[in-house]
């Protein structure tokens, strides 16, 4: 019965819940969904992680390759991220080249990683101007139930933390490359950027900020994706994106910044626990 009502009057269905200060899935406006995290699920990837934020599922696989550094930056390795929003994750996506939304998400995630400078590209260089690592991070979204950028960042950081680089011996005269996979050094990650998504719902006269919106809530708030994404890295903000469509008052903004900071601490603890359990 509730399903039918939701299909016929989606706005009224949503409003009925909001008027009672609760969301359709039972959470309060400030509650986030449970996070489930798992590492090393994919054996063919050099490092992998699977995260489930509520129903949103994202898998990240990291593959390492060797390449020659760019001529104008001979000391730097390469770090390439890519987000794939498959047709299987949501009925809105059709097969073919990536849709606009997919490209936007891919770009947002890539910007956050580069801006946070958590991966030091100098460390990826083995021999300057001759050999460097290329770290390909591919995030595949399996189920899109909102807050996809959050989930992508979490799974990306977790797999980077569990990544180990094998030792490479490069003989300069013979140009011979010998990769020793038995000796592995962990990659040095500075800081841990964590993103938090928000959706802003206009119900005049007030506007309500919802944390960690689900796909239905994102749709209600006018969008493709969350309205506001804040990325926090150890007390510093390394990315804030506000997509157009709804107004955000300044004290609501201050509140969201504080919430984002708190959430990043919580998520950091989750990631640390997961990695400690994995090593055991």
């Amino acid at each position: 019965m509730a399903e039918v009502y939701k299909l016929i009057h989606p706005v009224k269905y949503f409003n009925d819940y909001i008027n009672r200060n609760v969301r359709p899935d039972g959470r309060k406006f400030d509650d986030q969904r449970d996070i489930k995290l798992n590492v090393n699920a994919i054996k063919s990837a050099d490092a992998s992680a699977v995260v489930k934020c509520g129903n949103t599922t994202v898998v990240c696989g990291i593959k390492l390759e060797l390449a020659k550094p760019k001529a104008e930056e001979p000391e730097l390795g390469f770090f390439v991220t890519n987000v794939e929003l498959l047709p299987l994750c949501s009925s809105k996506f059709r097969p073919g080249p990536p849709s606009d939304h997919a490209q936007v998400v891919s770009n947002v995630v890539s910007d956050i990683c580069i801006n946070s400078k958590s991966v030091n590209l100098k460390e990826l260089c083995i021999v300057p101007d001759k050999l460097a690592w290329v770290v390909y991070c591919d995030m595949v979204c399996l189920d899109n139930d909102g807050s996809i950028v959050d989930a992508c960042i979490i799974t990306l950081m977790t797999s980077l933390k569990s990544l180990t680089l094998p030792k490479v011996n490069y003989d300069v005269e013979t140009e011979e490359i010998v990769v020793d996979t038995s000796v592995r050094m962990p990659l040095n990650i500075t800081g841990l950027p964590i993103a938090t998504s928000f959706a802003v719902y206009q119900q005049s006269p007030r506007s309500i900020v919802l944390i960690d919106p689900s796909a239905d809530e994102e749709e209600m708030c006018g969008g493709v994706g969350a309205n506001l994404i804040i990325c926090c890295n150890d007390e510093q903000f390394c990315g804030i994106q506000k997509f157009g469509g709804s107004n955000l008052s300044t004290e609501a903004e201050k509140k969201t910044l504080a919430i984002a900071k708190e959430r990043s601490k919580l998520v950091e603890k989750v990631i640390e626990t997961c990695l400690i359990n994995e090593i055991k």
């Binding site: 994919i42 063919s44 593959k63 794939e84 299987l88 097969p95």
Partner: protein
């Protein structure tokens, strides 16, 4: 001359299995919320996801009056194989796989029930260790069952190869990546085991016609075994669903 090391002297294969042993299959239905039907299947180290959308309105160009149009897309994650795969979909191999999947599944679905409609099946391979096509067909069958699409029978796929033990030929069931790469012959069969009919059959490399029957019957037996496993998984999923479902009063 087939490579001599596919079967050891004790009769064990490269991964320790016996010649007529399937890899371990673990599967789960209804893993995602967005698609109408979804399934996750592991066959040994090969991990495959399947999602089904439909039946829904067909695109004008594709709509057919005679029955439903089945649209398949086979995609491999870039980290699924040993070497990074640059083009997850759209390359020739994926398109060929998509076509074969479509042919196998169209034979299983009762297409005459939904004219002018379309069913979309999306397959994503997370880890490929040989037998990706077979795992995809099995996962797609489970996803179709989860979506409630009427099927004539389960569509199961299995592969078989041939090895020599001394001078005796010994067919091997369910080839893994190592055995495929070793260069032996691989026969892939997608069939509807309860009716005994074959939906798709593919043979790579050369096989003497004297041994063909033997390898084919081994693969068909494999399909029957897989059907038992899939059926059990479907029944368990339904039993779980019914005990948890709320009673709806209108």
């Amino acid at each position: 001359m087939p490579p001599p090391d596919l079967l050891s002297s004790q009769g064990l294969r490269l991964d320790g299995r016996r010649p007529n042993e399937l890899r371990r299959i673990r599967c789960k239905l209804g893993v995602f919320t967005q698609p109408d039907g979804s399934a996750y299947l592991e066959q040994g180290n090969t991990k495959v996801l399947a999602a089904v959308y439909g039946p829904h309105q067909a695109a004008k160009s594709k709509s057919s009056v005679e029955g439903v149009v089945v649209n398949c897309q086979y995609s491999m994650a870039t980290f699924s194989t040993g070497e990074r795969k640059n083009r997850p979909r759209g390359d020739r191999k994926s398109q060929e796989m998509s076509l074969h999947l479509r042919q196998a599944l169209t034979a299983a679905i009762k297409t005459e029930l939904y004219p002018r409609s379309q069913i979309d099946i999306y397959i994503e391979v997370l880890q490929a260790d040989g037998g990706a096509y077979c795992a995809s067909v099995n996962a797609a069958t489970l996803a179709l069952v989860d979506a409630g699409v009427p099927l004539r029978a389960y569509a199961c796929a299995c592969s078989a190869s041939m090895a020599w033990r001394g001078a005796q030929p010994e067919p091997l069931l369910d080839v893994g990546h190592v055995e495929e790469a070793a260069g032996g012959v691989v026969l892939t069969v997608a069939s509807l085991p309860s009716t005994g009919s074959i939906a798709l059959l593919e043979l790579s490399h050369r096989l003497h016609s004297d041994y063909f029957e033997m390898v084919l019957s081994r693969a068909m037996q494999g399909c029957k075994d897989i059907e038992i496993v899939l059926d059990k998984a479907v029944r368990e999923h339904l039993a779980e669903g019914w005990t948890k479902q709320d009673v709806v009063t209108i």
